[in-house]
Symmetry: C2
Subunit: 409 residues, 2 copies
């Protein structure tokens, strides 16, 4: 067959391309960025892969970071704002890891090309998609949250917010001692937002990503505005001051003298609008085009799900392509059906986590986690299985049922 065309060389496009190459399907990835550009420039995110994703990487033969030094083992929670902070850990059944995507994506692209994948550097415009659709059996849009995603109408019923719910400021830092056991610290400053402190491997070695998720109108929103370029020392001082005041669990492990950003490009500020879009669209020539990854569903990074979901969705799409290479509406509907539960759960769960104020049933679950290690561990483990998380968390009744079944209410 003329094979599959994929627009975008992010995690969605690469995992899909690699899976298809394993099944000897011809694949071309179109990218507006060269391999070199993917490996350089400003940081784009601070992505942690959970073990369900790492299992896929293993199956794809791209698990280049299997040594323990890259792994972390759970979450350290610090929930401030109450009379007493709630402080407790939760552990996975298998580790997660965070690799700077400027290392990760070029490595996978090299794997893809060495396994016979075509890599074609050129920006695709929406108007080019018809032409691509005539060159390939199927075109997949994996172009992230940029313009191309507008091909897939936003679903109001699954997109509860009209504006971003967090203003982001993420950077890579030296001078933060790792937590023990090594894990992500999730610190909540009630009313002001979260800090995700992530052990990450970048070109500077093992460093720490501090991802501030700031509530608009809260005391930390300004972190998304201040400029590192204009005043590096002032920027780092503000980060330190705010961390001391709002996220003390992380501050306790910072050596202020050693604390600095690992480089001027290792900081990113902005915000994302959570959106669930249609799974597919029909072109004027009657061919169907499928969305995957951020082009399909964008979630706020507060619980580190977007890339994991993109990989999962690519996996399901790839298997559907191999099993039934008839790219009509039936195909598209089957893809939508098979990924819907986990993909929607990812969006719904994330959207619950960024609701202000947090809904009482979420706080109830946090309270139970603080008191019961098994509950904390299950919640943490379910970072690999958002659909199971949502089974426990979707409604006040479900939380009640979950706690009752464990003798906790």
């Amino acid at each position: 067959m003329a094979g599959i065309g994929i627009v975008g060389a992010g995690v969605a496009g690469l995992h899909l391309g690699l899976l298809l190459r394993q099944h000897e399907v011809p694949v071309t990835i179109y990218s507006d960025r060269t391999a070199r550009q993917l490996g350089s420039g400003r940081m784009l995110n601070s992505v942690a892969h959970h073990h369900a994703t790492i299992e896929r990487e293993r199956a794809l033969g791209v698990d280049h970071w299997e040594a323990e030094e890259y792994h972390y083992f759970g979450h350290h929670h610090y929930l401030g704002g109450g009379p007493q902070p709630l402080v407790f850990p939760g552990f996975f059944t298998a580790p997660s890891r965070a690799i700077d995507y400027r290392l990760y994506l070029p490595a996978l692209l090299e794997d893809f090309v060495s396994r016979g994948g075509e890599f074609d550097v050129r920006p695709v415009q929406a108007a080019d998609v018809v032409t691509l659709s005539e060159r390939h059996d199927l075109v997949v849009i994996a172009s992230g949250r940029g313009d191309m995603s507008a091909m897939f109408p936003r679903r109001a019923d699954k997109s509860p917010y009209d504006a971003p719910q967090r203003k982001l400021c993420v950077g890579l830092y030296e001078g933060v001692a790792p937590s023990d056991p090594r894990g992500v610290t999730m610190s909540v400053a009630a009313g002001h937002g979260e800090l995700l402190e992530i052990p990450i491997y970048s070109s500077a070695g093992h460093v720490t990503a501090l991802l501030f998720e700031n509530v608009p109108g809260g005391d930390l929103e300004m972190l998304a505005e201040i400029s590192y370029e204009d005043d590096p020392a002032g920027f780092e001082k503000t980060i330190l001051d705010k961390t001391r005041q709002y996220h003390p669990a992380t501050f306790a492990r910072i050596d202020p003298a050693a604390f600095h950003l690992t480089g001027p490009l290792d900081v990113l500020q902005g915000a994302v609008l959570p959106s669930v879009r249609e799974d597919y669209t029909r072109l004027p020539n009657g061919r169907y085009v499928v969305a995957v990854g951020d082009a399909h569903v964008v979630v706020d990074p507060v619980i580190g799900q977007g890339a994991n979901c993109a990989s999962y969705s690519a996996w399901e799409l790839g298997h559907a392509i191999v099993e039934d290479p008839n790219f009509d509406e039936r195909f598209c509907r089957k893809v939508a059906d098979r990924r819907r539960n986990r993909v929607y759960a990812t969006a719904d769960w994330t959207n619950l986590m960024i609701r202000t104020p947090p809904p009482p049933h979420l706080l109830r679950m946090f309270g139970a986690m603080a008191q019961n290690q098994a509950v904390a561990d299950e919640f943490t483990e379910n970072f690999s299985y958002p659909d199971r998380q949502w089974d426990n968390l979707a409604t006040p009744e479900r939380v009640q049922h979950y706690l009752t079944a464990r003798g906790l209410s």
Copy 2:
């Protein structure tokens, strides 16, 4: 928990009830018919179970007919109407079997009750469902194609016909020698309909069901009208005459002297309107009710799929109940998603088979089957997997692709 209430003790209700009892879920089946009534009275159908269903029966521990004498091994096709009839067999990878439901259902009901299931004989009215919903954690409607199914709106987009496409006349007969190897004979009299000749086990022993599927306006429509009661000999003579003229492959194995109906209640005439209904409904008290089996989807019996689909759908619903006993809309949607592909394929495939005139791509597939044993076998095997059948058959393009991939076009 207060358990699951199931309305209806057909194959859908019983397979669901038995699965839930295996997981020690409390279950009550409500039935308007006593065990004795299920085992007597007029025949209701002539159901063949394909091996995917038999595997479920094995898993449920209700495979009471595992001896070879009950099994048949494939389909003998006789496609008349062209210059030459197309005559060819197709074989399953594992056998099918047909047991008179007046033996089958009482046996499974006994299993259900002996495993702690409650059996409550009373006709449930639509108005009672709210009360039942307050007595049980979940109410499932498995009441077949009667009135209760009106709770679930009919989906016009999946229900292409406004009237039955076949007029049925089915009876149990002695005097028909089995085909060799033992199988169902599917005889098509172009423009007039089909005869399904099924080896079936009933209280009369190993006999033959002749299910005439007659096109309205065709020469055999009258078989659905003539009365056995008024004139038994005349009825049997008409059946013989029409079989001789339109379905010669079966007639060749009939001994006219020995040919007779096994009993006055062993005949059924009528017609079914193919319908796909919504998966679930919300009651005024906010509780959800799920449909399964014919209450959800009715198909014409021409390819023997209704009961197999009911069993499959009960199986998916039962596993969903065990995995996530939170009976809210999320639960209902998950059930709908997980059974949709196979259930819709069952309806879509059946609706294609009864279209008049038959669409060219279906005739093309028949032509390929007649010439290629592997294609005939795959089509026959897929009576267990309607979703895979539909992958090959849904559109002219899919048939083309299927044949091309096998070097057959």
